[in-house]
Symmetry: C2
Subunit: 306 residues, 2 copies
């Protein structure tokens, strides 16, 4: 089962209490694909400029990530720079240079359109909808959004969400989108907008899943050392949908209760998000093995069982 990922491939300037890098590989599609590639064949649809480093291309290719849909056009690659607060729970954007990403109009290669799984990184809701419409009949399609789209592109976003099976957002976004402060009521409101599978991410505190069968919560992993939280939410998404894809899960399974698979997917998402934070940029994925992933999944079982 293979997975199509649409979103940004970028360079990031990162400053956290643990250090600083001026320009390192980043972007939602990058993180999602690096994460999901441990579970299923994954392909990226994105755009980069002619400054995109061959070694970064080679790194993605080395993870068996499909790059047929990675356009390279004249100009500079999307660049974002930010600085994190002391507890790394907040960050301030220093620079956002959209560059070639400003004209991104994702077109799926023909062979991608019939793929069974689609995840849409945090981009303009109308673009997300256009991509969804290019897919013939995915088993599961969904993605991410953010405060900016919820506030300023609400109507477009609501149209987009109608076509999604799953949505992953953080708790402040869930409250903003739903207008409800109570998380259970917020989830009920959001699921009525389209996505039957809703994951509310709560940063270091874990994540909660809402679906037809009820809800499931997992606490956060206690990291020995937090270096850089950039991309953790995207790696969560990659682990979540990557695991579901590896199990061939579809919403049609709902009657046969995929609750256990959904719960495990949330834990795999948490596992991948936790690894992401252990090094700057995408560096943890240069050495991470599937054995380490499964060992951490087992750790989650151990520290949550009672």
């Amino acid at each position: 089962m293979s997975l199509v990922i649409v979103g940004s491939v970028a360079y990031d300037g990162l400053q956290t209490p643990a250090g600083k890098v001026d320009r390192a590989l980043g972007g939602a599609a990058t993180y999602i694909a690096l994460s999901s590639s441990y579970f299923v064949p994954s392909s990226i649809v994105a755009v980069v400029g002619d400054d995109f480093d061959q070694q970064d291309y080679d790194f993605l290719a080395s993870r068996n990530i499909g790059l047929e849909g990675l356009q390279r056009v004249p100009g500079k690659t999307f660049f974002w720079a930010g600085v994190y607060s002391d507890d790394m729970n907040d960050r301030t954007t220093l620079t956002t240079e959209l560059n070639v990403f400003a004209d991104f109009d994702p077109q799926l290669p023909a062979s991608y359109r019939s793929q069974p799984y689609l995840v849409l990184g945090n981009i303009q809701p109308a673009l997300q909808r256009s991509v969804r419409a290019q897919m013939t009949a995915p088993r599961l399609a969904g993605g991410d959004t953010m405060n900016f789209w919820i506030n300023d592109f609400r109507d477009e976003l609501l149209d987009t969400l109608k076509g999604w099976d799953f949505l992953l957002i953080n708790d402040s976004e869930a409250r903003l989108l739903s207008g409800e402060s109570n998380l259970k009521r917020a989830a009920q409101t959001i699921r009525a907008l389209g996505p039957k599978i809703l994951v509310i991410k709560r940063g270091e505190y874990g994540a909660t899943l809402f679906h037809d069968g009820g809800f499931f919560s997992v606490p956060g992993y206690l990291l020995d050392s937090l270096k850089d939280p950039t991309g953790a939410g995207d790696c969560f998404a990659g682990g979540f949908i990557g695991y579901l894809a590896s199990q061939g899960v579809s919403l049609d399974d709902a009657a046969s209760a995929p609750a256990a698979e959904l719960a495990r997917a949330v834990v795999y998402g948490s596992v991948m998000g936790s690894f992401c934070c252990e090094a700057f940029s995408v560096d943890r994925f240069r050495t991470l093995t599937r054995d380490e992933i499964d060992a951490r999944f087992a750790e989650f079982q151990k520290f949550t069982a009672f």
Copy 2:
């Protein structure tokens, strides 16, 4: 196995987004005892003024809470008033009138000194130490503290903690006490100060337990309706130590791995904290049954299993 509880019995003025009460039963010892009384015989050592309502006394007595150590002296009962933020994660104190609590010098009735379990609510660390010294040989002794004592009475607090088996604090207090922002390292530092069993409470996000056998995390309960979080941490403490007392757990059991009992105690603490928030003041305990407690414990098992 019975439990001795030392702390405040008070009146609170409470304002939350869900409503307002001008004067209602509160205080750490009150909440701890109401919670623990579902698990083991519990007794309070505290002081109230001559304005303390007979109906409040009768309510505590009706829960089979031992009141031999509840002194009634001339003057007014401790009064605290506060207002909660919209998300109820913060609160602002409007009034603190110590009244008769200012001269509180807890003396345990003779029959209490040989009891097996002691929990110390959030009071002056030197008083906590004096109470601990009055006990002959409790199986488990410990309690709670707060930012004020950590900042302004650090030396006294460190002396006190040397004699404790368990400590329950929230995450910001753990970071303040240890000087460590990483929660695992904070826990390691704090456990070296005395309490081998450490519970770090994380409000709506759950709680994490650290002990010789490792750590355990439980996510928070998703409330249908949050009315008033006052006393939730104390009710957590009551459920935690109440369950351990009901099982006869002692630190000597550590070799025989009480990890499962400790984990269940954290869940019972979470259960009791969640009920506390469902009504103003102590009102939820006027109707709460042991069956409801066990049903919610089963709910925790269901929404955390994978």
